[in-house]
């Protein structure tokens, strides 16, 4: 299953905190697509995924100061 989480407009640390909570509702193997525009997120979201043992399956810059990252639980 693929769930999309829009966090545009949120700044650090909220994208990570929202992702953490969205992840809690998913089961192993599910993917969470996180859209974000907080610049720090390009560092903190991959680091958060690594710290929790989640695999990053996709990471793309979608425009000026906007990105999406896909993380598998």
């Amino acid at each position: 299953m693929r769930t999309v989480l829009e966090t545009e407009g949120l700044v650090c640390p909220f994208p990570v905190m929202e992702a953490e909570e969205a992840m809690a509702d998913l089961t192993t193997g599910d993917e969470l697509v996180i859209a974000f525009d907080c610049t720090q997120g390009t560092q903190s979201l991959p680091a958060w995924a690594a710290d929790n043992g989640y695999t990053v399956t996709e990471f793309a810059k979608t425009g000026e100061a906007s990105w999406t990252i896909t993380v598998r639980k």
């Binding site: 407009g9 700044v11 650090c12 640390p13 990570v16 905190m17 909570e21 809690a24 509702d25 525009d37 610049t39 720090q40 390009t42 560092q43 903190s44 991959p46 680091a47 958060w48 995924a49 690594a50 710290d51 043992g53 695999t55 990053v56 399956t57 996709e58 990471f59 793309a60 810059k61 000026e64 100061a65 906007s66 990105w67």
Partner: protein
């Protein structure tokens, strides 16, 4: 010679923006996620600067003066500053470089911070600042001096402690590698500077190096200090509203340089966009900025002047400020982030194990509380 402030500030703005160096985040992560990743990078910047400043002082190039500790002013001011930076979503430099990235919340925080810093240093709030500073004064300068040790012993101890932290963090990072990076679309220097993700520890070293260069550069202009944000912000406001050119010094150009450097760096990286936050975030940013200005004026420095620069001089003021900033951040993070998170977790756990009737009851109960 004050124009070098613009250059040093410009480079610092680039390093902060591209390196994602956030002191608020470093302090906040200690409490919110228990991570020392950014705190280690921050302390590495302090240690690098401490070594550089000790060498510059030994050669006689600079002769930094260490202020005596005013206990209440430093502790209370830093606590207020710590509260402020969580509300504002960024410390003194963080607010400058995010303003350069186009975050409108940071524009509000910056104006509030510079305004109350000026009011507390040279304006209507100055008598309060003077009163707080006089409450509990001491003759304490550097921590090694209090134990009759030369300062270089402190530099060695700090470097050794930070080296252990760095080793620990590097091991953690090696065990949990980041699996996928953004696909590179640029090459060479353009990729390295404006696209590639920077390693936090490397960014910490670069911040430390810029902080070292700031000393002789500022000294040559007649401003006998290292990096600083609060007094320069206050001087910037003073110069803007009075036209008094004596306030336009190296420090003012430094903070303008950070703003410009971060802006150009964000532009070059495709990371600039004007982003307008919600009304709640704007209100919090302004409240945070107001507290930051007052707190930093009382404490004699912010996350840079005290937590980064005075700490590298091993001063009591710097380390007291660092501890109380981290405590202020922790208390605010608890009420605005950690407790709400725990409540949501508890609600989710209750919702999963009980029928929905319970959730509706609790909603009704909270509605009653709200209307009282």
């Amino acid at each position: 010679m004050i124009f070098t402030g613009l250059l040093v500030g410009g480079v610092l703005g680039l390093v902060l923006q591209r390196g994602r160096f956030c002191i608020t985040g470093a302090f906040r992560d200690l409490w919110v996620s228990g991570s020392w990743r950014w705190m280690t990078a921050f302390l590495l910047a302090v240690a690098v600067q401490a070594v550089g400043v000790a060498l510059l002082t030994a050669t006689g190039a600079i002769t930094p003066e260490v202020p005596t500790l005013s206990v209440v002013a430093t502790a209370a001011g830093s606590l207020l500053f710590g509260v402020g930076i969580v509300l504002a979503g960024g410390c003194a430099t963080g607010t400058y470089y995010r303003a350069g990235e186009g975050l409108v919340g940071s524009w509000f925080a910056l104006i509030a911070y510079a305004g109350t810093a000026a009011a507390s240093k040279t304006g209507v709030l100055a008598p309060v600042t003077t009163w707080v500073k006089g409450l509990w004064t001491t003759q304490l300068t550097t921590i090694p001096a209090a134990f009759s040790l030369p300062d270089w012993v402190g530099v060695l101890a700090l470097s050794a402690g930070v080296a252990l932290l760095v080793r620990w963090q590097r091991r953690l990072a090696a065990n949990r590698p980041v699996t996928l990076q953004l696909a590179p679309q640029r090459t060479g220097l353009n990729h390295l500077l404006f696209e590639r993700a920077w390693n936090p520890l490397l960014t910490g070293v670069l911040v430390g190096l810029v902080a070292i260069i700031a000393w002789p550069a500022s000294w040559a202009s007649g401003r006998h200090d290292g990096l600083g944000i609060t007094t320069p912000s206050s001087n910037l406001v003073g110069w803007l509203v009075t036209g008094d050119e004596s306030r336009l010094d190296w420090g003012v150009l430094l903070v303008l340089g950070i703003l410009i450097g971060a802006h150009l760096s964000a532009r070059a990286s495709g990371e600039f966009r004007v982003r307008v936050p919600s009304a709640t975030v704007i209100r919090r940013s302004i409240a945070g900025g107001l507290l930051m200005g007052v707190g930093a004026a009382w404490a004699g420095g912010c996350s840079i002047g005290n937590a980064l620069v005075q700490t590298s001089l091993l001063s009591w003021q710097g380390w007291t400020a660092l501890v109380f900033q981290v405590l202020g951040v922790g208390a605010t993070a608890y009420f605005t982030l950690i407790r709400p998170r725990n409540q949501r977790r508890a609600a989710r756990a209750a919702g999963a194990s009980r029928p929905t009737e319970h959730l509706e009851n609790s909603k009704a109960a909270s509605a009653v509380v709200a209307t009282r």
